[in-house]
């Protein structure tokens, strides 16, 4: 049912509909409203357990314990909260615990800021979590049941990311699929292995060099092999809800005949689409390749879509200090791996909530008219 509500509250509603058992949250702007709404649902008896932890490190740690005991789990955080979880994010991926977390993306200190960029998740890129970047609240709500399905079938943790404030605090019309609809798609969580006194297992072992690389290789292969399940899950759920967001890994917005393309993630893509529509009315052949699955990264889709393009601009809402920005690096790697030669320019913008508008997107397309490779802040 379509309702007018805040993005954060729609996310909270969906967590109830996904029948999460154990939550552990620590408030941090801009994810706070999700945690607050879920607390109300706990108070109302709609969430079985909610641990009001004393820090984010404990939030993710508590979920590790709960997930290992066979509970469906959820937490939400932002920025320094993600950073404080860092060590445990790697550990739970290695332990194959299917935790789902919603990150409301925000800049990392310093300077301290509370507004959106993607710097907070960049250090977690290599953690073994599946990272799904949503453009809209509707997409985030529709992605959460998929996140649980992927996590629990692949035994990998999944992060569903939304742009802080732009989405978390936006009040708009959102259709939150009901519990009955979600139940049709998402089976009960029944893990093959869990902490159970009837069948004792040891989890979180210590490993010598003889075995450790084998564990890491298995994990690497499983994250790589998640691309097909991500596509399949998106296809399956989109048939139920009659909405879809590309193929689950990427969204191709008017790229087929485009000469110039912007590659970007999350809410800025809405403005890029707006710019594309305006420019196409003037006869300009422009398109957007939106990366939905940041990890695993859709190298093949990127290679396919960038075939025979004239100039590509990668928009990063984060920096890699002393190196090329993160999304740009991934796109370069994808293209180096193919037989194509396409100029790829780098644009960094929207850091710490700096506005990135339709005008910003148009300016990038203007820059892409030149054949010269650019690397700049916008």
């Amino acid at each position: 049912m379509v309702k007018t509500l805040e993005g954060s509250h729609a996310i909270a509603d969906m967590i109830v509909n996904c029948e999460a058992d154990v939550l552990a949250c620590y408030p941090i702007t801009p994810s706070t409203h999700i945690a607050e709404k879920l607390q109300k649902y706990y108070a109302d008896g709609k969430i079985p357990e909610y641990i009001t932890v004393e820090q984010e490190f404990s939030a993710i740690s508590a979920l590790a314990g709960a997930s290992a005991t066979g509970a469906r789990t959820f937490t939400t955080t932002s920025s320094q909260g993600v950073a404080l979880m860092h060590e445990v994010l790697y550990a739970v991926a290695g332990m194959r615990l299917p935790i789902v977390m919603c990150v409301a993306n925000r800049s990392l200190n310093s300077p301290l800021g509370i507004w959106c960029d993607h710097q907070d998740i960049i250090p977690e890129r290599d953690s073994g979590w599946i990272i799904l970047m949503c453009e809209s609240n509707q997409e985030a709500v529709d992605t959460l049941p998929q996140a649980y399905k992927l996590a629990e079938s692949l035994l990998l943790p999944v992060m569903v990311c939304i742009d802080g404030f732009y989405l978390t605090h936006a009040v708009e019309q959102i259709d939150v699929p009901s519990k009955e609809i979600v139940q049709k798609f998402l089976p009960k969580f029944k893990p093959e292995f869990k902490l159970d006194t009837n069948n004792p297992i040891t989890l979180g072992i210590y490993s010598t060099p003889q075995y450790l690389q084998d564990f890491r290789e298995d994990l690497a292969n499983d994250v790589d092999n998640a691309r097909e399940p991500i596509k399949k899950t998106e296809e399956e759920f989109s048939k139920i809800i009659n909405r879809n967001y590309g193929n689950g890994l990427i969204e191709n917005y008017k790229c087929d005949d485009a000469e110039r393309i912007i590659i970007a993630m999350s809410s800025f893509c809405g403005n890029v689409k707006e710019a594309i529509d305006e420019l196409r009315d003037k006869g300009e052949k422009v398109g957007l390749l939106r990366i939905k699955s940041y990890r695993p990264f859709p190298y093949k889709d990127v290679q396919e879509i960038l075939k025979n393009k004239k100039h590509v601009g990668v928009f990063d809402r984060a920096t890699t200090l002393g190196g090329h920005p993160p999304l740009y690096t991934d796109v370069l790697a994808a293209i180096y791996d193919s037989d194509q030669k396409v100029p790829i320019s780098s644009f960094i913008g929207g850091l710490g909530g700096k506005d990135v508008t339709v005008e910003t997107a148009k300016n990038i397309f203007e820059d892409l008219k030149e054949n010269k490779i650019k690397r700049k802040f916008v």
Binding site: V22, S58, G65, E87, V88
Partner: protein, 289 residues
């Protein structure tokens, strides 16, 4: 007196702890007292390294380790998941070292106590980061040598007294906080059994001598753990429901001179007669003598 058989062991032999390891003795005793209806949460520590080196495990009950500093949080999650599943009988037990509890994991521990999570938290206290090569912790005794409290011309060993974890635990108002020693296994067992029958947060601080860290003859583990109590340096106590003015002493010390305990350990071999006098004076003051 209960006689245990080897097959009763839940923490089994074949682990790789040092000969004379106080922690291994403590854990074996504690686990015998707890029985099989429990889930163990361990933190990164000697006990993790010597009990779960892949592909072996010394544990006959479900076991989880995640990181060094999050035992109390992981256990909170396990406990709440059991509650969500309607399981009101399985015990959740944390086995953690003093560094993982009193230092790096203190925030998580304090948080779990503030929430009065239904967890039995055992801190086996060997008084240093023994696993990483004997670095000082907040539980290292005053004047003791460690690799990060060295003996020099300007500074002689650790300068600060031990952070009082039982009092701190009790000050959170949790239902049960106690101190035990591997020199008094029946007292330890009694405390574990008592704690098992209480709901909410329970904390037991168990003195567990460490052969390489304390530098003593491995056959003296129990002897040292006894002497610590007999000299009054280590108090065997219980505080219930946060009533810190009502501390119960479970074993009265005979007040042997502290020197008898200190002289057996390499970590104290640099002590001067004056320093030993200071330690003795502090013990006397602690006990109102």
């Amino acid at each position: 007196m209960v006689v245990f058989k080897r097959e009763d062991d839940i923490f089994t032999s074949g682990h790789t702890a040092c000969a004379g390891c106080g922690a291994a003795l403590a854990i074996r005793t504690i686990m015998r007292a707890i029985g099989k209806d429990c889930i163990v949460v361990n933190t990164t520590s000697c006990s993790e390294i010597f009990s779960v080196c892949f592909p072996r495990s010394a544990w006959k009950v479900p076991y989880i380790h995640v990181t060094f500093e999050n035992g109390a949080s992981v256990a909170s999650g396990v406990s709440r998941a059991l509650k969500a599943q309607g399981n009101d009988h399985t015990k959740v037990v944390v086995i953690a070292g003093d560094g993982g509890t009193a230092d790096i994991g203190f925030g998580a521990v304090s948080g779990s106590w503030e929430r009065n999570e239904d967890i039995l938290y055992i801190m086996y206290n060997n008084g240093a980061y023994e696993n990483t090569g004997i670095q000082r912790s907040s539980q290292t005794p005053q004047y003791a040598w460690s690799t990060t409290s060295q003996i020099g011309e300007e500074v002689r060993g650790k300068q600060e007294p031990i952070k009082p974890m039982v009092k701190i635990a009790a000050a959170h108002g949790i239902p049960y906080a106690a101190s035990a020693s591997t020199g008094y296994l029946i007292d330890l067992e009694n405390k574990v059994k008592k704690a098992l029958n209480i709901k909410g947060s329970r904390f037991i601080d168990v003195l567990s001598p460490c052969v390489p860290g304390w530098k003593y003859d491995p056959q003296l583990t129990v002897e040292l753990a006894k002497l610590a109590v007999e000299t009054g340096l280590w108090k065997l106590n219980e505080i219930e429901n946060g009533d810190i003015n009502n501390e119960k002493i479970t074993v009265q010390p005979s007040f042997k001179p502290v020197e008898e305990y200190l002289k057996l350990q390499g970590r104290f071999k640099h002590l001067t007669p004056d320093e030993i006098k200071i330690i003795q004076a502090r013990v006397n003051k602690d006990w109102g003598r």
